[in-house]
């Protein structure tokens, strides 16, 4: 048995089987095993995923994607400024299957992030924070998919 006094470690209590509380007023001891196992502030791994949480995370991920996409935009514009030959090469890559997949992802990311931003504007007014937030989150996802498909169909139509 190791008694270290008030607010210190007690090995005695650890063996007694009670782990309901880390700090026991009647004992006035902290138990190290209980201190380690007690819940910390809730984090991602604690919550069951919800649509609102997922759309919030996706908003951040699409933001990071668009950040990286700036490099592609810069390459596209610099190639255009460099001359017809360089621009034709970059346009050729965009037209390739891989290029189209990247551009499709970029389109969806920018539309999802834009709709998420509009959702944030609604929240900024104080509205949309009630149960209707579920509907707003679904609209963000469905709207982004519908608009992306629509933009690409329009693109193939006017080409």
């Amino acid at each position: 048995m190791l008694h270290c006094g008030r607010g210190r470690i007690s090995l005695e209590h650890r063996s007694s089987g009670s782990v309901s509380s880390a700090f026991l007023p009647h004992r006035k001891y902290f138990v190290m095993a209980d201190v380690k196992s007690r819940p910390l502030s809730p984090h991602l791994s604690i919550y069951k995923p919800t649509i609102t949480m997922t759309m919030s995370i996706v908003h951040r991920i699409t933001g990071i994607g668009l950040y990286a996409g700036t490099v592609l935009l810069a390459i596209w514009l610099i190639a255009a400024a460099s001359g017809a030959q360089a621009f034709a090469m970059v346009q050729g890559f965009i037209a390739s299957p891989l290029g189209r997949i990247i551009l499709l992802g970029y389109t969806w990311a920018i539309i999802h992030h834009a709709l998420g931003g509009i959702r944030h504007f609604i929240w900024d007014t104080g509205a949309g924070l009630g149960p209707e937030r579920m509907m707003l989150a679904r609209l963000t996802l469905i709207g982004s998919l519908v608009i992306t498909v629509g933009l690409w169909l329009f693109g193939y139509a006017v080409r």
Binding site: G63, T70, V71, A74, L77, I110, A114, F154, V158
Partner: protein
Amino acid sequence: MSTFSAMKTPLKHVRGLGSSHSGTEHFWRQRLTALANIPLTIGFLCVVYATLGKDAEGARAILARPFDAFIIALFVISGVIHMKIGMQVIIEDYIHGEGSKIIALALNTLFSIAAGAACVFAVLKLTFGAL
């Protein structure tokens, strides 16, 4: 933001500035650029649609038209300011080491300026007659 004035008390100098020492400046600028990004993204999409089906020379000629170049430049400037602030929030959320955080914040600023400057320079070169 506020300039020093003997007429202000020390409390008045710091009120509203909080722990970031810059108050709600980033909060407001993130929303201002977000608002601008909505019509500018639509404008940029219109420019991209105009280039579809064109050969390289034709597409370059469209990007070089003054209004198209103007829309692209505004889209890029508003976009890189928005993304710089956004990435700063992400860095401050996830990178806790003081040294690595400062390096990440510096790289974020440098990247944003470089990407924005490259795009704007390219558009200006096009529209000022590099064809």
